[in-house]
Symmetry: C2
């Protein structure tokens, strides 16, 4: 009975808000106009070009990181943001070193390898050993220590290609765990097939799990063609020996910055619609689709809203997060720094899935905010965007705030090709389609503007 009553109340409240039509027609028309103008606006591409050209690779803790922080402040200023601030983010620095691998016998080959983030170094002159092959991480986990002891493990599972990137979650466990599982079983180093969908000799880096108290070994990913080659060599049923040299290492503490640009709200400046991207990148490419494009999209959206719609009720906060890649350090630091004002964070979203066209919106908001999401959807539909429900999530940097209760949204991008380039030397500007990027901006404008101008909030203390 009580359940039914609650349900009725919810429905009633939903209908009431829906019927209220909280936005005036002028505002909606202006948003529509701006959305359509954004489709031919190149600001997001220009920002992406600027970050990849004037900074380029910016692994957290490297000189590129500091350059990116300076770039971001200047760019926010040039774009006319009302308030620009930085907040310190301190983390243990991991530094890439030399990375080579060769098959020593029975046939000699160079392998294209890259170290997995946060793994331990080999000696400077490498580690040699016999390869023991496992089709999957589960197979390695199930193996007897005697199979692995003294050897170099190789996991050959290949990531599947899907529009929503769902192959990633299935395959990435090998990257996260192989160093620790190999160590636990007495292995001396670990090789995995790159977590990627391409056939290029550009191996995919990415973070591995690391804990000072859990044994680990040096670990690297070889490119898909190299993994195929190693499998073909192994097929000959002769012992296969490889030598791996990976001198990446932990390198003391480093303090980077979250860089924050605010377009201040006219009525509730202390309430934030938080959008953004991560400012750091892996270091093999110039971090164009991961995640300069996300910075371009969200910085452009905020700038175009201010320019064409003026100040909205709430503050639009663009956060360029520090060190997403190996620790979401910026996200954790922000949550810590803002823990006394968490509820002022009304709705959040991060653009961190490349530069493909957006095809769906997912949300995680209070039920009684759903009519506003419906209004957003009427403006998103013409962009080819569908609603996929209220169990959505957002980028990795929103995790701490979402866990604390913040409402979030995710504008899902077509990720069909994303994992061809993700975390590789191939993550460069040519992979960004200006037209798809502009469609992203149009969508972010709709969601951000309507959230900033909404009469109500989007709920807090939302269950996960």
């Amino acid at each position: 009975m009580k359940k039914l009553f609650t349900l009725c109340l919810m429905m009633l409240s939903t209908i009431m808000i829906a019927q209220t039509n909280q936005y005036d027609d002028d505002f909606i028309n202006q948003v529509k106009q701006l959305r359509d103008q954004a489709l031919t606006n190149d600001l997001a591409y220009d920002i992406t070009e600027s970050l990849t050209t004037e900074v380029g690779a910016r692994l957290a803790g490297t000189p590129g990181d500091a350059k990116a922080v300076a770039w971001a402040q200047e760019k926010f200023k040039a774009l006319g943001f009302d308030r620009i601030s930085t907040e310190p983010v301190t983390f243990k620095r991991w530094t890439r070193g030399q990375e080579t691998a060769v098959i020593l016998s029975p046939y000699q080959h160079q392998l294209a390898i890259t170290a997995l983030g946060r793994t331990l170094p080999t000696p400077a002159d490498g580690i040699s050993g016999e390869v023991v092959h496992f089709a999957t991480l589960a197979d390695l986990q199930a193996a007897d220590k005697s199979e692995v002891s003294g050897k170099i493990t190789f996991i050959s599972e290949r990531m599947e290609r899907h529009k929503d990137g769902s192959g990633y979650g299935k395959a990435v466990g090998a990257r996260g765990l192989t160093a620790q599982v190999t160590a636990e079983k007495g292995g001396i180093a670990a090789i995995i097939r790159s977590i990627g969908t391409d056939n290029n000799r550009t191996p995919h880096t990415g973070a591995a799990k690391y804990d000072d108290n859990i044994p680990s070994v040096p670990a690297g990913a070889i490119s898909n063609p190299d993994a195929d080659l190693l499998l073909n060599v192994l097929k000959r049923n002769k012992p296969v020996f490889v030598k791996v040299t990976l001198t990446s290492h932990w390198d003391g503490d480093y303090t980077s910055q979250n860089v924050i640009g605010d377009m201040l709200g006219s009525e509730k400046p202390e309430e934030y619609i938080v959008i953004g991207c991560h400012l750091d990148s892996w270091d093999l490419g110039t971090g164009a689709i991961d995640d300069a494009s996300g910075c371009g999209i969200t910085m452009a959206a905020a700038k175009l809203i201010k320019e064409h719609l003026g100040s909205l009720k709430r503050t639009i906060r663009v956060v360029l997060w520090a060190n997403e890649e190996y620790g979401i350090s910026g996200a954790l630091a922000y949550h810590e720094a803002h823990k006394n004002e968490l509820k002022q964070h009304i709705l959040g979203g991060e653009s961190d899935f490349g530069a493909g066209e957006i095809y769906a919106l997912g949300t995680r908001v209070a039920e009684d905010a759903l009519p506003t999401i419906e209004t957003m959807m009427t403006l998103l539909k013409p962009l080819g965007i569908d609603y996929i429900g209220n169990q959505g999530s957002s980028g990795a940097d929103l995790i701490p705030m979402r866990k604390a209760g913040m409402a979030v949204f995710g504008l899902r991008q077509d990720g069909t090709d994303y994992f061809d380039y993700h975390h590789t030397a191939n993550d460069t500007l040519d992979k960004v389609d200006p037209k798809a990027l502009a469609q992203n901006v149009a969508a972010w404008i709709v969601v951000t503007a309507l959230a900033a101008e909404a009469e109500h909030d989007f709920g807090f203390d939302l269950t996960d």
Copy 2:
């Protein structure tokens, strides 16, 4: 009048041969049957897999070269060739060294670079200088010495993508000449955009012209994304300085081998239908499409003909040519070694354009052999292959023999993607489609078998 008489004679002879139906029906039916069986036969793929896995990179003059020569003899033996021989091929060896490039200012970037074959080394610690940009080789050639002197040239022309690979000829001049033209104008090093159609950070190597008596400079190709980046940096209109380190160098004489497998003719064993591939490869990948696949196709064609059709009238000679890549040294040596029996070389073709499906046959044969080509075409048509005329050519290794007068044919492969991988680290087995490879074998069987069994020859002393 004399012309008309000749024309009439030619037509008459053509009609006579065409009407003669030189092949008996049984033979034609057997060839058709074998052609169709070949479409599902994986021998060519297995050979390609074997060469790329058990040998891999095999730049002329490297240990891989010697391994490939040994592999080839063993493979011919395993395939049951009647006679296996090697013929020495001596050339000046060029050895790849270290290769790195960085943009020093105004923004720091690593560039993916590879040395152009036969170019001179920089000092071990590199050469630094200001970049001077030219859109094309012609622009560099037209430049005043004062523009180039003391600088590092950069040619940014991009190769066009076409099915027939015709973009290559248009763009490759920059690779051939930039080192010499840059030197002539006082430049200190040369960078070109890779001669390739991809967007991968895998630069394309390939030979540059070299002459001991013509000044030259160190020269390298950067990948397409790197060329785009350098252009974007140059757009800022600030002086751009780069540092290039390329320690590749000339390294004395080396003797490799042409490896020859003969399936001996039953009636005219001293007459040769010459098919084959080049055995060497560039060293960045495993030389799968350039040219292990050509070896797989032609070795498999000869083997399957012998196995299913028995010995034909003429000898089928499969030549695996040495050092095609930086000198067609094997081709020149063969021509020299066989100059007293050139006319025993009845028809020749090389498979050296990757592993794409064949879509056309071109020939360069005597007019009165055209009816035989027509018969070939009736068997090739079902494979989706059209005839494109009698002004055809073949692979680079046939040039010396063709110039000496030998009749040649070219089975044209779809090269739409070929220059994505050509001469890069990405030239690996995964780029070979087993189905397309089998279609190649079917086509090579038709042309080779009908040529070996033909009553007549295909002419000699053909004008170029």
